[in-house]
């Protein structure tokens, strides 16, 4: 008995150690590759391993097919050619068991993309799996289709995906919606098939389905004008209800982020609202109340809430909102300017620059805070704030603003002085109404940051002095005093 067992064991060992038995496991292959000291050594190991895998494929060894596929996926990740394994993916996909299908679909997504001819062969397998009774296998097929769907596959399999979007199973419905996003992207003509289905999915309760459906609606709007119009008529009401429900919902641990209920769904809905409301006064009016509610309900001391507020402000600025709502949005940005987080201040400055064209007066109310940002420690924020101030200047406020900027010029960073000097000179030149003020400002700038002044600026100054006979004496005295001060330093 012992002898027989030993013989069997030796025989098994011989088979495993044979040159073309492909006996190594994935972890052993990875260990061998990691042990290589040079690139040439690694190439040799990979080529030898590939030859063994090809041998096993040729011998049609089914029991180690999934192992070989796992090894091929690793080899593919290292950048080596693995095209010879593509047919093996198809065989695994066509196998009956879930483990084989799982590794087959994973290999399909990794080793192939939509350009391969082999992909045509897999369409039938996908079709069968989309009709499988096991929901997890259906999920595998939807996931694979969502990753590698080509235009031909989209046309062939679109009816199955439509049917699955009506499924009773939550996960299947969600995956079908995500898969539909890819289908619509590949074949925009199919958008009309999914409009109604997407619209009905917005009536669901499950957040996974909702966020997938909202994403699908967003894709539909990009794909088709007809879809955009359809969704404007049929979805705005649903979106408003979703946003109200999620905004008012009580504590739900699976969606909660720092006390905020599902900020991701908030943001997706707000983005879609912006697309639907843009250029459409009726939709915008319908959204007005919920946007105001979201804008006032969230506090600015949490990052998740700030993300929602940021998206809400973008939506308000992007649609045909009422002026009251716009002022509310700009005031939120004003609050952002006082936030300690550099990122929040930066995005606020960015959006205020775009808001100026919409409502200059509302932005002007935050001028003091914006000027504080010109003196910020962060260089990016300083630049943004300076650009914003440049846009805010008008005949009324040019003198106090210029005074602030010139006063800051003395203590500014050397790197920032150049930008600041250029902007000040530009403002003074553009808005000066009397020569005396112009000369005073220019002399100050030249004293504080003369090295940074561009040639054309002082050329223009010389021209002005030449043409203003009555101010030449005054100019000489000021320049003499500046020179005196410089010598004394």
């Amino acid at each position: 008995m012992d002898t027989v067992e030993k013989i069997v064991e030796d025989f098994a060992s011989d088979i495993a150690m044979g040159p073309f038995s492909s006996g190594t496991r994935l972890r052993d292959m990875i260990r061998a590759i990691r042990a290589c000291k040079t690139a040439a050594e690694e190439r040799a190991v990979v080529r030898r391993e590939c030859a063994e895998i090809r041998e096993a494929i040729g011998e049609n060894q089914q029991e180690i097919r999934h192992r070989n596929m796992a090894k091929l996926m690793f080899i593919h990740m290292l950048g080596y050619p693995t095209h010879f394994g593509q047919m093996e993916c198809l065989k695994l996909i066509a196998a009956a068991g879930y483990p084989e299908k799982r590794i087959g679909y994973l290999g399909l997504m990794l080793l192939l993309d939509e350009r391969q001819e082999v992909l045509m062969l897999v369409t039938n397998s996908l079709k069968q799996d989309l009709n499988h009774s096991n929901q997890f296998i259906v999920g595998l097929a939807l996931c694979a289709l969502g990753n590698i769907c080509s235009a031909e596959m989209a046309r062939d399999l679109s009816p199955e995906v439509e049917r699955l979007m009506r499924s009773r199973d939550v996960n299947t419905k969600k995956k079908a919606a995500l898969c539909a996003i890819r289908i619509v992207r590949k074949v925009p003509d199919l958008a009309e098939n999914f409009m109604g289905l997407a619209s009905s999915l917005l009536k669901e309760k499950h957040h996974g389905i909702l966020i997938s459906a909202v994403q699908l609606c967003t894709e539909l709007c990009k794909a088709s004008k007809d879809a955009l119009e359809y969704l404007r008529k049929n979805c705005v009401e649903g979106l408003v209800r979703i946003l109200r429900d999620v905004s008012n919902s009580s504590y739900a641990p699976e969606y909660d982020v720092a006390g905020i209920s599902d900020p991701f769904l908030h943001i997706r809905v707000l983005k879609l609202m912006r697309i639907l409301g843009q250029g459409d006064a009726d939709c915008s009016e319908y959204m007005n109340d919920i946007l105001a509610q979201v804008a006032t309900k969230n506090e600015s001391n949490k990052n998740a809430a700030n993300a929602i507020l940021y998206e809400c402000v973008q939506t308000i600025m992007g649609i045909e909102a009422t002026s009251g709502l716009r002022v509310l949005a700009i005031n939120i940005l004003g609050r952002f300017l006082s936030n300690r987080d550099n990122n929040i201040r930066y995005v606020a400055l960015n959006m205020l620059m775009r808001a100026i064209t919409v409502d200059t007066q509302a932005v002007q109310r935050h001028r003091t805070t914006i000027l504080e940002c010109v003196k910020d420690a962060d260089a990016s924020i300083r630049k943004r704030a300076l650009e914003l101030v440049f846009l805010l200047v008008n005949d009324t406020n040019v003198k106090p603003l210029t005074k602030e900027l010139v006063d800051y010029l003395d203590s500014a960073d050397p790197d920032f002085k150049e930008d600041l000097t250029a902007k000040i000179c530009s403002i003074v030149e553009k808005f000066s109404q009397e020569k005396l003020w112009y000369l005073d400002q220019m002399f100050k700038v030249l004293s504080l940051a003369g090295n940074h002044v561009k040639d054309d600026v002082w050329h223009a100054l010389v021209v002005v002095i030449s043409n203003a006979s009555e101010l030449q004496g005054y100019s000489v005295r000021l320049l003499y005093m500046a020179l005196q001060a410089f010598v004394d330093q």
Partner: protein
Amino acid sequence: MAAGAVSALFLLDIKGRVLVWRDYRGDVSALQAERFFTKLLDKESDAEVLSPVVHDDAGVSYMFIQHNNVFLLTASRQNCNAASILLFLHRVVDVFKHYFEELEEESLRDNFVVVYELLDEMMDFGYPQYTEAMILSEFIKTDAYRMEVTQRPPMAVTNAVSWRSEGIRYKKNEVFLDVVESVNILVNSNGQIVRSDVIGELKMRTFLSGMPECKLGLNDRVLLEAQGRTTKGKAIDLDDIKFHQCVRLARFENDRTISFIPPDGSFDLMTYRLSTQVKPLIWVEAQVEKHSRSRIQITVKTRSQFKERSTATNVEIEVPVPEDSTNPNIRTSMGSAAYAPERDAMVWKIKSFPGGKEYMCRAEFSLPSITSEDGMPEKKAPIRVKFEIPYFTVSGIQVRYLKIIEKSGYQALPWVRYITMAGEYELRLI
């Protein structure tokens, strides 16, 4: 006058990106050099056309050479001797080849620690220092990874005889001289010889004490004529003779005497070239048939074209096969053949191949139904052959004598061997 110093030395890849960088004086940055050199390469796509000495706007001079897929570049702000710097770069290449067999981007990546050590020793503060590979080997060990006690530089680096240390003692004094001739051949698909030459090397391994003087006599025609001897039929013509630096060139120029103090250990005393056309010593023909994109059949025939009294050993015939091959089925009339996937080839090995014989090999491979999507035209790699034929030289060179004279008067035994081997020996497929 004092020669200017190099600011930095860069090793760059084929696109001009810095692989290894050694800064000697701190006044030229790697970014600066890389930007300049990349721009230069863009301007002139063919590096051969470029002058090896170029200047940029910032007052930096650059000197460079190319070796395989690597550029060696020096940058300097001082008034350098361009010729000596370029020669130094060539010496850097020689040293790297001594350590790594071949200098390529890949060998640099594999050995960058040793590369930095070598650059440290070969140049100090921008001035070239030791460039002798054998001397550098004495205190830069390729396998030394741990911290070591600082070693005193050997006396040789400061001696007039820079290639040999003093005070060497051997109980038994011996000299081994190997005459190795490499046959380089390229045959096109029509069976015509495109390129053929023989590179000869006299390799010595000396185990001699003290500072011995050596004299070597060959059957070189010019030498024999200079000595007034008859040149009946044993004299040969050698071209492009190059000597190790230990050989006294002045004496060789005068009377063709090869006189030298040998370095200790292994060194190449002399290389030469034969310019006459050489018949391929081992001939290989291969026929490749493809069946319906899924099967390939290769028939290889090989013939030894030298006299029957000589025998080629360790013959290896490497026949390229498609990179997706599988299911090898191989039969040979002599030796053994196997599929070597790491080389994308079938390797046929014949241990002993007597002269005037002919052998055959037949192989069949399966191919997968999916081809590579690169769409590249099928590359036809040539057949490569390796072999050694002991006691045989193509040129007929003979060592007539090797005398060793040392003050202490010991006797040294010289051992001479001859061998012919394959160099770049390739036959293109039909």
